[in-house]
């Protein structure tokens, strides 16, 4: 009888909710970044590599003596640079967004490994940095469970939540956002309105890629405090699935990332509970299986940007 309700008690434990929000943070950044790119009509499969690069670059900057926020900024700049490369190849040149994106991921990942190994030749255990400390919001953090989960996190997590609001506002309520939506839905019409499709798409990809890189940087600067090869471990691909799940909306992206992370945090605790009965790999598979299921369920009623994955060439019909 003692353990029969243990699987339910997990939900009453504040540490579970804290973990869920922490796990969600890089996914929020990644999904948000991908939403921005895809809303402008360009699939960015560079996400996995850009997150890896962000994780390495941010960490390395701090390890070399930069401040934490400078590290985040540096990670974002690296992400933006690779976003610009992806944009140059896919927007004015109109190359296949699938293949280019995979190429960007391969390049950013291998470059991260190369640079890391160059600066830090063979070390037994990866060195750590003094990372972001949790920042308590006075008053709000004393609310039981919710307060701890939402208001006792590291600054980057708050930044993720704020970014969702800002991106949603810009996308739906400003001329810039409407222009981004328009080039993703009907670039020819946007062009006829006097908008510069190439410029707007490029801007969206650069901006989205910067968000992705910050998502990666969260892992090394707020979660693990060290850089490992393969540390992104498919999180970028999960973000691509979450974008579909979120129907390309920033608010739903936040919700999707939180739901997903709650599930992930839950399976980890369940794993400790049932550790010996079920192989741990089954639990580790769950996030990937869940992503595929989410894709299947949502695929029927999605309103994807009409010009997604279609390169726009001026004067071509």
């Amino acid at each position: 009888m003692e353990t029969s309700f243990a699987w339910l008690e997990i939900f009453l434990n504040a540490s579970f909710w804290v973990a869920a929000v922490r796990i969600a943070t890089p996914l929020i950044f990644g999904t948000l970044g991908e939403v921005i790119c895809e809303r402008a009509g360009v699939l960015n499969l560079g996400i996995e590599g850009i997150m890896t690069l962000g994780a390495m670059a941010g960490w390395m900057a701090v390890y070399q003596g930069a401040g934490l926020w400078s590290g985040v900024l540096f990670a974002a700049a690296c992400g933006a640079t690779f976003g610009l490369l992806h944009a140059m190849l896919t927007v004015p040149l109109g190359l296949s967004q699938h293949v280019t994106g995979i190429g960007i991921t391969l390049l950013a990942t291998s470059l991260s490994s190369y640079v890391y190994r160059l600066i830090l030749p063979e070390v037994n255990s990866p060195p750590r940095i003094q990372a972001f400390e949790p920042l308590e919001i006075p008053g709000l953090s004393s609310i039981p469970i919710i307060g701890e989960a939402l208001f006792k996190q590291t600054p980057l997590t708050y930044f993720a939540f704020i970014s969702v609001v800002v991106v949603a506002y810009v996308l739906y309520r400003t001329p810039v956002g409407l222009a981004v939506q328009m080039v993703g839905e009907n670039p020819a019409a946007a062009e006829a309105q006097g908008l510069n499709v190439t410029l707007i798409r490029t801007g969206a990809i650069v901006c989205g890629s910067a968000f992705m890189a910050v998502g990666g940087a969260f892992l090394t600067m707020s979660a693990f405090n060290a850089f490992f090869f393969n540390m992104i471990n498919g999180r970028g691909w999960i973000c691509i699935a979450l974008v579909v799940f979120a129907s390309w909306r920033p608010g739903k992206a936040l919700l999707g990332a939180l739901l997903f992370a709650a599930f992930d945090a839950y399976q980890m605790r369940l794993q400790q509970l049932l550790g010996t009965e079920i192989p741990y790999q089954i639990f580790l598979m769950m996030p990937y299986v869940l992503s595929i299921l989410a894709l299947i369920v949502m695929s029927r009623r999605v309103g994807y940007p009409q010009a997604l994955m279609i390169p726009y060439r001026k004067g071509e019909r």
């Binding site: 040149l93 109109g94 291998s110 160059l118 691509i240 790999q281 598979m285 990937y288």
Partner: protein, 349 residues
């Protein structure tokens, strides 16, 4: 700036495109090599020597090229029909897994029967891995890129589970590795004392078969038509869905055989590091070959020589061996651009 299709593409440009891309990527990566403190020419010289400089080096290079021919072919076949199979890594492991189940003692046949059976079963395992994604794409419109990518992670975890459970070698000193395949299931070595094995011949055979399929059969014609213009193919009365399923099964099957070739020819048993990303590198191989089945042989050899050469260079010149991955991915991006410049011209006005 506008990009316009060329009315006539000179054949010289088609041949020059990959050469230009490779030269450009060597030049671009020179900066990274110099950053490590090594002399650029010395480092590239060591790379060349390490890849092609001796019989041993050549054997290593072509042994490394073998799985890349399979995965490159898998990507080329799929991409030609615009089916984005990014899951060759998972399909390779699925093939390796079934070989481990059948080849470590369950089947005990004459090698002449055993090896064809193992080739077929590994192909079936790889093909089945891709059946789900292709059906989901056709019936639900689920993007195959994401499903195939995510399946890679799932399969690798499954392999890890089985290697720590039912497939674990009791003599493996606790390492998560499977029992070695029996002698009848082994692909014979081509030269005494060298690791190059007859999987290479199998890979060459499949390249030729796929080339013949693509130019001489109805299926090959339909696969190209579906890739070129799906709407037009449907309008012309082609069974687009069936063609896509066939494409997926062939692509997954070829990637599955890579798993067989690596287990039965190269490593002898299944481990978690059987493939250092052969599935992903296959995409680069396919693009460098401009999706041509015979071109895949050349581009796989090139990519393999960079990997093998970079290992040697890393040992002697102290350049981290990750430079190989950087060079290969840079050459992919350069290749995409140079192919574009061959087919299109850029007008700046």
């Amino acid at each position: 700036m506008r990009v316009e299709p060329r009315t006539r593409v000179p054949f010289v440009l088609v041949i020059l495109a990959p050469i230009a891309a490779i030269v450009t990527s060597f030049v671009l990566c020179a900066g990274l090599v110099a950053w490590s403190g090594a002399s650029i020419f010395e480092a590239y010289g060591l790379l060349l020597k390490g890849a092609l400089g001796s019989g041993f080096a050549l054997s290593e290079t072509f042994a490394r090229a073998t799985p890349l021919i399979f995965t490159g072919l898998a990507a080329a076949v799929a991409f030609k029909s615009r089916f984005w199979n990014i899951g060759a890594e998972g399909q390779l492991y699925a093939g390796a897994l079934i070989i481990t189940v059948l080849g470590t003692g369950m089947l005990d046949l004459h090698p002449g029967i055993m090896i064809p059976i193992l080739v077929i079963t590994s192909a079936v395992a790889g093909a089945l891995m891709l059946l789900g994604p292709v059906l989901l794409k056709i019936h639900f419109g689920v993007d195959e890129v994401v499903t195939t990518l995510l399946l890679n992670f799932i399969v690798l975890l499954l392999v890890s589970l089985l290697l720590e459970g039912p497939l674990k070698d009791p003599m493996g000193l606790g390492w998560p590795q499977a029992e070695p395949v029996t002698e009848a299931a082994e692909l014979p070595r081509l030269f005494l004392g060298l690791r190059l094995h007859s999987g290479l011949l199998l890979a060459l055979l499949f390249s030729v078969i796929m080339w013949i399929v693509s130019i001489r059969t109805t299926l090959g014609y339909e696969m190209r038509a579906v890739g070129f213009n799906q709407k037009a193919a449907r309008f012309a009365g082609m069974p687009v869905k069936r063609v896509m399923i066939m494409t997926a099964l062939i692509s997954g099957g070829i990637a599955g055989i890579a798993g067989f070739s690596e287990v039965a020819g190269m490593k002898g048993n299944l481990t978690l590091d059987l493939s250092p990303g052969f599935g992903y590198t296959g995409i680069v191989v396919a693009m460098l070959a401009q999706l041509h089945p015979l071109g895949v042989i050349i581009s796989a050899s090139f990519v393999a020589s960079i990997f093998v050469g970079a290992d040697a260079m890393s040992r002697s010149a102290g350049v981290p061996s990750y430079i190989a991955d950087v060079m290969v991915s840079v050459s992919l991006l350069c290749m995409l651009v140079s192919v574009l410049l061959v087919r299109f011209r850029i007008r700046w006005s």
